[in-house]
């Protein structure tokens, strides 16, 4: 497999919040499958806008996204949905759909070629995110964290089976851990790391640097203010200097017993300019 | 007079004539069969039935048939413009006689198709209309003799009323008020009320428009009617004559100074039935008295 087929490339992308807004970020980078890439950055830096552009919901001010060697605009929506599953930041579900029904909606892109185990897929996806016991509950009545896990299960179900052409499946998630409690944050991250190790391309917008350090391979830091993004391996990019420069917070790096680096953040802000 | 018949009335007449010409012989036979069950639609038509003494044939009337009192106790088939085919047929009528506005047309068609004689009487707000009603009802109910008598009576009455009106020294300026919700609704050209005022020797002060329209206080003052005409039901709805005169828009009219108001019962006033000569006569004399 060539690199192009297994990558999601941003070519000279200019990210803005609205069609006429200021440029928030410039991105010229590519993300590979088989890697878990985290997108980090301060509030308003353009992380969610970048994510919207990556999945094709919005058009960039300049530049383009190339997915598996083809420009994103040229991918028919129905085909794209078979290759790429997206979980939005906060999805309000209208009407009284149950969790199971919402997860089943993830199978919609594959409705013309249903596999023998459609029901089984849905169940496995729900078990993976720990929402099996909520199968018959209305999604609208669930807590924020439970809802997020249902939508994660839906995304997993959407990208469950290997593709006929053998290319990688992609999971793109906008803040999947935002509403989750501690236990489920780590469970979710572990799940995504496992998928990446199995060959998926995983891109997730995260708030928590430590989760990225522990579970993600690569990171894309969006500093905001129209600057170019910083991309590389987590340990390489997320240095105390970078953190102080981008987030304006002092961090102290700790080496954990299991070999993973984690930060403890201090209260002292960066020196006033 | 023909020009005043609306297109719809022409269509009704044409439909009636057409059906009379095109129906098979069976109908012609039923034309000779006496009518034993009759439905009348329209207050004036019902009045004629009672005037000819044919009320025993009457099985139902519509909601506008309020006179005489006995008509109120007959079964009601609804409002004359919105009849129900099944409702009419459930009463097993032999014939239905109605004013020109009876409808909807499709319901009348369906009833005709079921073998019922349906006759509508063209309206033109004239005395000839009354005579037509008398003749038609007389023919349908098989009381041509009584119809002839009544017609002669009415013609005599009418001739007398007309001569009285013609000999009057003056034509009072009158305004007919239909109802008083917000702005008063007054009668312009082309309405039954307008025709009535003209027949009674008055001059309708609002002739710039057709139909019933709301009139502002200023316009009413500009129109300056000497006498106001209203129905008794209308005055009652307002809460009596005193309440009527307390309406602010009337204060600037000449009629207000003299409290010149003529009231009459609505169906007699506007129905164009057998009480028309009486109504015109009363209206005429009361208007003259009020503006003396």
């Amino acid at each position: 497999m060539t690199d192009a087929v297994n990558s999601l490339c941003c070519e000279h992308l200019q990210v803005t919040a609205h069609a006429q807004g200021d440029t928030l970020a410039q991105v010229h980078a590519s993300v590979q499958s088989g890697r878990f890439t985290a997108i980090l950055g301060p509030n308003g830096a353009g992380k969610s806008s970048l994510m919207s552009i990556l999945v094709g919901l919005r058009k960039p001010l300049a530049g383009r996204v190339v997915f598996k060697g083809r420009a994103l605009q040229q991918w028919p929506a129905a085909v794209l949905a078979q290759h790429m599953a997206f979980m939005a930041q906060d999805t309000q579900v209208a009407f009284s759909f149950t969790s199971q029904e919402v997860v089943e909606m993830g199978r919609y892109p594959h409705r013309h070629h249903p596999k023998a185990d459609e029901a089984h897929v849905v169940q496995c996806a729900m078990q993976a995110t720990g929402v099996m016991h909520l199968a018959d509950r209305e999604v609208a009545t669930l807590s924020g964290g439970e809802r997020a896990r249902v939508h994660l299960a839906r995304a997993l179900a959407q990208a469950w089976h290997p593709l006929p052409d053998g290319s990688a499946r992609w999971l793109l998630l906008d803040e999947p851990t935002a509403a989750l409690d501690l236990q489920h944050q780590h469970a979710c991250m572990q799940l995504l790391r496992q998928r990446a190790d199995q060959g998926f391309g995983v891109v997730a917008v995260l708030h928590d640097l430590n989760l990225a350090l522990r579970y993600a391979h690569d990171v894309v830091v969006v500093p905001g203010g129209g600057q170019a993004v910083i991309m590389g391996r987590c340990q390489d990019v997320l240095t105390p200097q970078c953190i102080e420069q981008v987030w304006g917070v002092r961090g102290e790096l700790l080496h954990m017993q299991d070999g993973v680096q984690q930060y403890v953040f201090g209260a002292a802000p960066a020196a006033a300019a | 007079m023909a020009a005043e018949l609306s297109r719809r009335q022409w269509l009704a007449l044409a439909a009636g004539a057409g059906s009379a010409l095109s129906l098979p012989a069976g109908w012609a036979q039923s034309a000779q069969r006496p009518v034993q069950r009759l439905i009348t639609v329209g207050g004036a038509v019902t009045e004629v039935v009672y005037a000819l003494g044919a009320q025993s044939l009457l099985v139902a009337t519509d909601t506008t048939s309020l006179y005489p009192e006995a008509a109120n106790r007959t079964p009601k088939v609804g409002y004359l413009r919105q009849l129900s085919a099944e409702g009419l047929l459930s009463l097993r009528p032999d014939a239905i006689v109605g004013a020109a506005e009876a409808g909807p047309a499709i319901v009348l068609e369906q009833v005709r198709a079921a073998g019922v004689r349906v006759e509508l009487i063209a309206a033109d707000h004239s005395f000839a209309e009354v005579l037509r009603k008398v003749q038609t009802v007389g023919r349908i109910t098989g009381r041509e003799g009584q119809a002839q008598t009544l017609a002669t009576q009415l013609k005599a009455q009418w001739a007398q009323v007309q001569s009285t009106v013609a000999q009057a020294q003056r034509k009072p300026k009158a305004l007919f008020i239909l109802s008083h919700s917000g702005a008063p609704l007054v009668a312009g050209r082309g309405t039954a009320a307008h025709a009535l005022l003209s027949l009674a020797g008055a001059q309708n002060v609002v002739q710039q428009f057709e139909g019933y329209r709301p009139l502002t206080a200023e316009a009413m003052a500009a129109a300056a009617p000497d006498v106001l005409v209203n129905s008794t039901q209308g005055i009652e709805a307002l809460g009596g004559v005193d309440a009527f005169w307390r309406r602010p828009e009337l204060a600037l009219t000449p009629a207000f100074a003299r409290k010149a108001l003529v009231m009459m019962e609505a169906s007699q006033l506007l129905g164009f039935g057998p009480r028309l000569p009486e109504a015109v006569s009363q209206l005429h004399s009361q208007m003259l008295k009020a503006t003396a």
């Binding site: 129905a78 919609y108 | 297109r7 609804g78």
Partner: protein
């Protein structure tokens, strides 16, 4: 709560929903057949039906009343209710809101305005049209009016991002208000007969049913129902939000356009034949969702069936409660619908 009828979630089995819907509609049809101002005993009814199907003697009044007056009316009520229920379900799915109504996209308002124009201005402006179309003038005008206003509102809702449902709602409110003002003006310049005709048309009635109308409206509604089923799964996905649905591969713009066209056709044809009948499109989908869940593969056909049943029952009441007169159907559906609507608001007040 598992049983023969119910799923673990408490909802009815899909087969029970559809089967039950068909049974209820048939019962309503039978009820409507036996009710009417003209008394026809059930035994006579059977013989009339037999004659009608086998082409026997046709002279009895019972036959005439049933075959030419009551049966077309029943069938028109059935297709009208089906069309309105279906359109209501489509609009609620598209707007992602259980309080949506087909009237929001302006079909009924436009149809009413066009009908009033035909009644009031027709003799002045389109005298020749009246002669060429005859008794169909009113229905054709109403249909065209409904379509034109829907097109206007659809056009107003277009933006660079496609059809904005929120914009459509606001445009619908504005245009409906304009249609109302137009109606008011036409009422003002009309004479009494025209005014009364407009009012009666607005109140809705099945009394104008004849076989030609039944066939026409029936064909349109049948086509719309079949076409709408293709929208069932896309509408399910759209409940997740239009962005998320698009990323599931749902052609969201096409789905919305399709839903609007089907609604305009169904409601336009029904309204042009019967006048304005309200609340069926609002209430029927809600009840179906209560017993069957929100899956549009059940809600769409279920709303059509329940809508048909509701109209049949309401019309049976309208025809008999003040017999030999009849009450306008729209008035009755409003009397029933408004309390139900308020009940729904109470249920949903926490979710709104």
């Amino acid at each position: 709560m598992t049983s023969l009828w119910r799923l673990p979630s408490g909802r009815l089995h899909p087969q029970v929903v559809i089967g039950g819907g068909v049974v209820v509609t048939l019962l309503a049809l039978i009820l409507g057949s036996t009710q009417g101002a003209y008394a026809i005993a059930p035994s006579q009814l059977l013989s009339v039906l037999g004659n009608g199907l086998l082409g026997g003697s046709t002279s009895s009044t019972e036959h005439l009343v049933f075959m030419n007056i009551r049966l077309p009316r029943l069938l028109l009520g059935l297709v009208a209710g089906a069309g309105l229920g279906l359109a209501g379900a489509l609009m609620q799915g598209m707007f992602r809101n259980p309080l949506a109504d087909p009237g929001l996209i302006g079909v009924s308002g436009g149809a009413a305005l066009a009908a009033a124009c035909a009644i009031v201005l027709g003799p002045l402006w389109f005298a020749s049209l009246g002669f060429t179309l005859g008794s169909w003038t009113l229905a054709v005008s109403a249909f065209i009016g409904g379509g034109a206003v829907t097109l206007l509102i659809y056009g107003l809702a277009q933006s660079s991002g496609g059809t904005r449902v929120g914009l459509m709602l606001l445009a619908g409110i504005a245009v409906n208000a304009l249609a109302g003002a137009g109606l008011g003006f036409l009422s003002y310049i009309s004479n009494d007969e025209q005014l009364r005709n407009v009012q009666l048309w607005l109140m809705g009635s099945l009394g104008h049913a004849r076989w030609a109308t039944v066939w026409l409206v029936g064909c349109v509604v049948a086509l719309c129902t079949v076409a709408a089923m293709a929208l069932a799964r896309p509408l399910n996905a759209i409940a997740l939000g239009e962005a998320q649905a698009q990323l599931l591969g749902v052609p969201v713009e096409r789905t919305k356009r399709y839903a609007i066209v089907v609604t305009a056709l169904a409601v336009g044809s029904v309204t042009s034949a019967t006048g304005v009948i309200g609340f069926i499109g609002l209430v029927a989908p809600h009840w179906v969702r209560l017993v069957a869940g929100p899956d549009h593969r059940l809600v769409l056909p279920g709303s059509a069936l329940l809508g048909a049943s509701l109209v049949l029952v309401a019309d049976a009441v309208a025809r008999t409660v003040v017999q030999p007169a009849e009450m306008p159907l729209g008035v009755l559906t409003a009397f029933i619908g408004v309390p139900l609507f308020l009940l729904m608001l109470r249920q949903f007040r926490n979710k709104l």
